[in-house]
């Protein structure tokens, strides 16, 4: 039971981090970045490949590469597409996502690569009489720490203020002196760091990394930011968390019918969207107009 609750919270936390990364970028430039999946994947790949190095070194390499890739995406592709409308940017990001998947396939091969990353994490400890895995506790702790840091960054620093302002109204924020290029690049960099952390969390649980490794989590995180409330970062994270918790609970309690967990999740998403088109964090009648 405790394990089930911890699993739900840790899965929710993972999706919340992925959703936060996606939400940051969406907030500043209305871009649904499908290629976020490939940021998570590259982080996982690098952790697997550099498994011989100490964990910290290996993670730092992964984080640096992932962040550079995220910033490169913005500089080389998304910057040139700014102002073309969300649909075109979304399709472009999907193209980029497929492109990177194929590049990974060329570099790392189509078959999953795996390595035992931080094997001590799969051990179990006794908590209140029940045994739980260390990795689920670690995930919960990491998530809470990162969310606190991100919360501080977003609520208390000038960068965070600019990010929030840009998420609400990008044009006005620019008029008031927010430097758009720098801000957007910063948003991509932070989303890269978050993706690297998500990559670390998921690769500990499932070390079989293949080119499409990050796709599933990204899609669910996307669903999360929409039901949470697209226009607020807090809503994004909350939505991601909810999707993870719901999915985990469905998996635990559906029993044999758990293969249909996704159907129930998506039906729930549909209902939430129909009742609250702007997401849970919005007012009842607020919705995007176009």
């Amino acid at each position: 039971m405790i394990q089930a609750i911890l699993d739900a919270i840790s899965l929710g936390g993972t999706y919340a981090l992925a959703a936060l990364g996606l939400g940051l970028v969406f907030g500043v430039m209305r871009l649904v970045n499908f290629a976020h999946a490939e940021l998570i994947t590259i982080s996982a790949y690098i952790l697997v490949v550099t498994n011989d190095l100490p964990l910290l070194v290996s993670f730092i390499i992964a984080a640096v590469v992932t962040t550079l890739l995220a910033v490169a995406m913005e500089l080389l592709i998304y910057r040139r597409l700014r102002g073309t409308g969300p649909a075109i940017m979304l399709i472009a990001s999907f193209g980029l996502s497929v492109l990177l998947q194929r590049v990974y396939e060329l570099i790392f091969g189509a078959l999953p690569k795996s390595a035992a990353i931080a094997p001590w994490m799969s051990g179990e400890v006794k908590v209140a009489g029940a045994s739980v895995t260390i990795s689920s506790i670690a995930t919960v702790v990491i998530t809470i720490v990162i969310l606190l840091i991100a919360g501080y960054l977003i609520e208390r620093t000038s960068l965070g203020l600019q990010l929030r302002a840009a998420a609400i109204d990008f044009k006005t924020a620019r008029l008031l002196g927010v430097r758009s290029n720098r801000l957007i690049a910063a948003a991509f960099a932070i989303s890269g760091v978050l993706a690297a952390i998500v990559g670390f969390i998921v690769v500990v649980e499932n070390p079989q990394v293949s080119p499409m490794y990050g796709v599933n989590i990204t899609i669910l995180a996307l669903v999360g930011i929409v039901i949470g409330g697209i226009s607020s970062l807090r809503g994004s994270a909350l939505g991601g968390f909810m999707v993870g918790v719901i999915l985990s609970l469905l998996n635990t309690f559906l029993g044999n019918a758990r293969v249909y967990a996704y159907s129930w999740l998506f039906l729930l998403v549909l209902i939430i969207l129909l009742v609250r088109p702007g997401g849970i964090m919005s007012k009842a009648n607020e919705m995007e107009r176009v």
Binding site: E105, V223, F266, P277, M287
Partner: protein, 348 residues
């Protein structure tokens, strides 16, 4: 003042706009299709993709609302038509279908009737879901339609009562020749063109251009979107059914993410505002893929043989998509309908 936008797809009925694409499709299909057996198959697949892209054009192109849900209607169409036409003997004996409902296993109908049923089922399901979904806008609509695709995929992947589950449905009859899919594609093209020049098509484009002014002029946005969604759902059902009769099998993975995004990319690359854009996008993506495939296999193209390493093809296709969008974000045709090239110097 903002410059007046180059509004795409404003059409009055014009024979050029209709017969230009018809001639090009017919000529291209026959010329390429009859040159080799493998190209014949490529052309048939291309025609299925074209019908799907037309379906997307009707709704996504005209209304400007993104839909990932059309893959679900195509999936439904493919399952309906595949299950209705597969021989009774195969359905009762195949290992992958021991759980199939007896009433489905014992039914078999004519290919043409099953295509019609697939289109009707696609249209009805799109019509019913559209009643709810069309209240949404923007990204919420995108994610909601995606949820629809997710439910359909999850259901068909795991359910063995209404299909083969994750396995392939064997024995789906193939089209006997090129002309059946060609004719279907042309019929779809004419229908979509007539729809686009009708009042529904025009009001829909009006809501895309300005969704505050359109209702002020008396347009009921939700109503026109619902109609277009149902009609394009029917076309998507037809496209999925056609695909199953070209492939000779139905597999749920064939209609999921890859299919949805490939067809959406075709539409966006060609220019989502017009039928001509749908055609150009389909032709472009298919031919880039085909040429690269032939290079990979080491075949000579126009006497030129370039050797590509395996795996490079997929990279090139994705790169083409990204580059095409960087180069011309409103699509190769800019959303304009077909017109004969005008070589006269422009006056301005």
């Amino acid at each position: 003042m903002e410059k007046i936008k180059n509004i795409s797809g404003i059409t009055r009925f014009s024979l050029t706009e209709l017969f230009g694409p018809i001639l090009i499709i017919t000529a291209a299909s026959c010329l390429i299709g009859f040159s080799s057996a493998s190209l014949m198959l490529t052309v048939q697949f291309a025609l299925c993709y074209f019908v799907m892209v037309l379906a997307l054009q009707v709704f996504v192109g005209n209304s400007g609302v993104l839909s990932f849900g059309h893959g679900a209607f195509a999936m439904l169409g493919a399952f309906v038509s595949g299950l209705l036409t597969a021989p009774v003997r195969i359905k009762n004996n195949a290992l992958s279908m021991t759980d199939l409902l007896q009433s489905i296993a014992d039914i078999q109908v004519n290919l043409y009737l099953s295509l019609l049923i697939a289109a009707i089922v696609g249209g009805v399901v799109a019509g019913i879901t559209g009643v709810f979904l069309m209240r949404l806008n923007g990204l919420a609509a995108g994610i909601a339609t995606f949820a629809l695709l997710g439910v359909a995929y999850n259901f068909f992947f795991n359910n063995t009562k209404f299909g083969p589950g994750s396995q392939a449905l064997p024995g789906v009859p193939k089209f006997q020749n090129l002309f059946i899919p060609l004719l279907l594609a042309l019929v779809a093209l004419v229908l979509v063109y007539l729809l686009n020049v009708s009042s529904i098509g025009r009001t829909l484009r009006a809501t895309r251009e300005d969704n505050l002014a359109a209702p002020a002029l008396g347009i009921n946005i939700i109503r026109v979107r619902r109609i277009a969604f149902a009609l394009s759902g029917a076309l998507a059902g037809l496209a999925g059914a056609m695909y199953s009769h070209v492939a000779g099998t139905v597999q749920v993975q064939d209609y999921y993410l890859g299919f949805t995004f490939l067809t959406l990319s075709m539409l966006v690359i060609g220019g989502s505002g017009s039928i001509w854009g749908a055609l150009v996008g389909t032709l472009l993506v298919i031919s880039v893929g085909q040429v690269l495939l032939m290079m990979e296999q080491g075949k000579a193209i126009f006497g030129l043989s370039i050797d590509l390493p395996n795996g490079a093809r997929a990279i090139f296709i994705a790169a083409t998509l990204v580059v095409a969008l960087l180069w011309r974000s409103s699509g190769v045709t800019n959303g304009k309908e077909f017109a004969f090239p005008n070589f006269k110097k422009k006056s301005n």
